[in-house]
Amino acid sequence: MFNPIFADPKTLIMGAITGLIFGFLLQKGGVTRFNVILGQFLLKDHTVAKTMGTAIVVGAIGIYAMVAMGMISVMHIKPALLVANAVGGLIFGVGMVVLGYCPGTGVAAIGEGSRHAIPGVIGMIVGAALYAEAYPWIAKNILNLADYGKATLATATGLSPWWFIAGLAIAASAGYYALERWERGHKAT
């Protein structure tokens, strides 16, 4: 076991550079702050939704453009096990609000100086260990429900992905425009 312990150096360096940039961006965006994340779930501060939505739209345009140009051949789509995805998401939402971070922002928050993120990340490791123990039962009873394979909105509907990307881009632009206007008006009064 644990053979090899380390991936090859190039892979590790690429991962490290990615993490460095990702952590830098998360801190600059303010999403490494407990109050910013809770502010989103209390529908007061929409920084998280603005950041995530923009990342999704920008990412989608580039990735699907590169697929169209043949620059990317491998996608990384996780199987649609709808019961597991939904129940997991519901549990995740509770954990994220109690802790105040998601896994990535929790680790980044430690770098910014959040002390309480440390027991949070230790809890995450314990949570992963508990899931591994529960896995045989979950695999038999939950992971086989509503299994639609590696489906995307495009493959499931037979439509071009660009319809969905255009829809997302328009919805995000209009939503953010309205949100910014509302926030400005709200601050002025």
Binding site: M14, F22, K28, V87, G89, G111
Partner: protein, 185 residues
């Protein structure tokens, strides 16, 4: 350029664009998608493996993550592990450049609702972490692996996760802090 790096807070649209472009790079150069929560499985396997190697090897979930087979090497410390470790360093550098580092043991919103006890906050942070990762592994991803990476690929699994996560997060936040909590964030 330096002035920008020293700025404490960037627009969420700039940061979101940065994360989107970073995703292009990981897909194109590394054939990987941004993600973080799998690394917690590797951490758990590594720590448990020190004391109970046989138990880790016998577990089907750990085996999928860290036990190599003849046709596939599964190192304990891989691409995403390096990414996650460096998240803290990236945030540290960003905070130091702008002098916006904090020393937060009990966030103000939490203190307003549950008091200033560090022990209480740390205990619930720990419990929250357990719940968070259990949910992430059940769903097969977290905010980065599902919501962002899966969302941008238009994956049905990821959009299902993201909608469920926001719904339960909003409900939990209002249950814990109520409407009055909005004045304290």
């Amino acid at each position: 350029m330096l002035a920008l790096l020293r700025k404490p807070r960037w627009s969420p649209y700039v940061v979101g664009t940065g994360i989107g472009v970073l995703s292009w790079a990981t897909f194109y150069f590394m054939s990987k998608a941004l993600g973080t929560s799998t690394t917690m499985v590797n951490c758990a396997a590594g720590i448990e493996g020190l004391v109970a190697q046989g138990h880790v090897e016998a577990n089907a979930y750990f085996a999928k993550a860290v036990v190599s087979t003849a046709d596939k090497a599964r190192p304990l410390i891989e691409w995403q592990f390096a990414l996650v470790a460096m998240l803290a360093v990236g945030a540290f550098i960003a905070a130091k450049l702008s002098g916006s580092a904090i020393r937060e043991s009990v966030p103000s919103l939490w203190a307003w609702r549950f008091g200033p006890s560090k022990l209480k906050r740390y205990t619930f942070a720990f419990i929250g972490g357990i719940v968070l990762l259990f949910g992430a592994r059940l769903a097969d991803g977290c905010t980065s692996g599902h919501a962002i990476s899966g969302g941008l690929q238009l994956a049905i699994s990821s959009w299902t996760f993201t909608i469920a996560m926001f719904a339960s997060g909003i409900a939990t936040a209002f249950l814990m802090y109520g409407k009055a909590g909005r004045q304290h964030v």
